[in-house]
């Protein structure tokens, strides 16, 4: 995990970001109206907020799936994002996997359209499955997997493409608590190994603190950053530490 510094170039710079949706009788404004924010590179940023605060819209905008108004936008590599790019891969809460492909087939699918795919595809897929602990399930189909295994497959498929940014939209919200915690530590390990930037949206305060290196709380209309907290360090992974509990209290006071 690289430690961010003030001088480090952000992976995303939100410059006066305004998103409006297309409605039947004209544009419908989203909570994102003139938002300015830097998302730092090589760390995990978690975004929290009440329902409807614009956090999922923000994530989709970072992925290039939502095109902002002309007045501002998302700067990525010093240019405004105008659509999805293979550098930035998104993982959803569900419907990530293709049911007609095995685990191996789904992970391999990640490289199908890449010009710079590794020569030995089978080895690359096997290595990635081993990284996420799914070697034994390579021949299984998605409906034969648990929720955690399905999300691990989706993460493996995303990571095998070596993206610069991984966007996660409430990826573990359907999992039980023990599985969720295992997935959190796996995300940390993978981030440390690959050093890619991750942005995760969640509505779970515990998840946001234990997973994130930086926790952002969005709120208000128009949305602004209510909390911007550093959540690095082992004390933030300990749910009973003073630092963890203080941050949790601070966030909950803002959200609830």
């Amino acid at each position: 995990m690289a430690v961010a510094t003030e001088s480090q170039e952000p992976v995303f710079r939100l410059d006066d970001l305004t998103v409006n949706f297309r409605g039947q009788s004209g544009p419908v404004p989203s909570p994102l109206q003139g938002l300015n924010l830097d998302i730092r590179a090589n760390e995990i940023t978690t975004i929290l907020g009440a329902s409807g605060c614009g956090k999922s819209t923000l994530l989709r905008t970072l992925g290039g799936f939502v095109i902002p108004e002309d007045t501002g936008g998302v700067l990525y590599k010093k240019q405004f994002l105008t659509g999805p790019t293979t550098d930035i891969v998104m993982i959803f809460q569900e419907n990530n996997l293709y049911p007609w492909l095995t685990v191996k087939g789904n992970v391999r699918f990640g490289l199908r359209f890449r010009k710079n795919a590794p020569e030995d595809l089978d080895k690359a897929v096997a290595d990635m499955l081993s990284n996420v602990g799914l070697s034994d399930a390579a021949r299984a189909y998605p409906h034969q997997l648990s929720g955690g295994m399905r999300q691990r497959t989706a993460i493996a498929r995303a990571l095998i493409t070596r993206p610069r940014v991984l966007l996660l939209d409430e990826p573990f919200s359907a999992l039980d608590i023990s599985l969720k915690r295992r997935m959190h530590s796996m995300i940390h390990t993978l981030q440390e190994e690959t050093d890619i930037s991750m942005v995760m949206v969640t509505h779970d305060v515990e998840e946001a603190i234990t997973v994130g290196d930086r926790v952002l709380v969005l709120g208000g209309n128009p949305a602004n950053v209510l909390v911007d907290a550093d959540a690095r360090g082992p004390e933030m992974r300990d749910r009973y530490s003073k630092e963890y509990l203080n941050l949790q209290k601070k966030i909950e006071e803002v959200i609830f």
Partner: protein
């Protein structure tokens, strides 16, 4: 008695017993010489007639074996269905990929879909003559429009995330269609094809009855022209059994090969 083996076999056993009971009652009615058996001769009578003629049906040069009749009808049905299946997928792709195509094609789709395939028979005979092309065309018209409308509904059911994920991994719009939308819709479209098989089957039989001189539908017409109720009953039996076997085979293919659901 509820074991997994019994649960699996029960529909077949109970169904088989049910059919056997009806045939037994039918045969008893035949032995008792009830008047109704003049119009509905029991299986022992019409099967004896067909076995006696060595499964050759018809008179003189126009006669054909049962196998020839079956292959004629099946050939027409499957050719028409295959063409309709391919055309429906292509139309679905064209409509889903281009709004202009949607505007051009949709009116024809929804105007022509309600027309019963039988209504096309006179036109088809004039255009193609009395031959296989007429029957294949009738089957095609009976299946294509419904299948295309169903294909569009299946395309709309594909989760948006599937396309986003593929696009995100570098797939072009065409590749997304080929590698994501196509496999996602195939099981649903195949199920529609199977449910439309009955419509196609009836359409080809009507075509064979009114125009073509061979096939299973022609057996019924031959029976009518010869006042031969045994032949009519035999034709009906073969049509029923063939339709049942094909329907079950299509269901098996659907469950074994195209098993996934999105």
């Amino acid at each position: 008695m509820s074991t997994p083996a019994w649960d699996k076999a029960a529909p077949w056993v109970v169904g088989g017993i049910s059919v056997a009971c009806v045939i037994a009652a039918w045969e008893i009615a035949g032995v008792a010489e009830l008047p109704v058996t003049t119009v509905l001769p029991p299986p022992s009578q019409f099967m004896a007639m067909v076995i006696e003629s060595d499964f050759r049906i018809g008179l003189g040069s126009q006669s054909a074996t049962l196998l020839e009749s079956l292959s004629s009808t099946f050939g027409r049905v499957f050719a028409g269905m295959l063409l309709a299946f391919v055309a429906a997928i292509i139309t679905g792709a064209a409509i889903s990929l281009s709004r202009f195509t949607t505007w051009c094609v949709s009116p024809f789709l929804y105007l022509l879909a309600p027309i019963a395939p039988i209504a096309w028979i006179p036109t088809a005979i004039v255009v193609f003559g009395i031959n296989n092309a007429t029957a294949i065309f009738i089957v095609f018209m009976g299946v294509y429009f419904i299948l295309t409308i169903g294909t569009l509904a299946e395309i709309r059911r594909v989760p948006a995330e599937y396309g986003i994920v593929a696009g995100n991994l570098g797939a072009s719009r065409w590749q997304q269609w080929l590698f994501v939308v196509m496999p996602a819709i195939l099981p649903g479209v195949f199920t529609l094809l199977r449910t439309n098989f009955i419509a196609a089957w009836m359409a080809v039989l009507v075509a064979e009855m009114v125009g073509l001189r061979d096939g299973l539908g022609a057996i019924i017409m031959m029976g009518r022209n010869l006042f031969n109720n045994e032949l009519i009953m035999f034709g009906m039996l073969v049509i029923g059994v063939s339709g049942f076997v094909v329907d079950r085979s299509l269901a098996l293919i659907g469950n074994r090969i195209l098993w996934w659901r999105v």
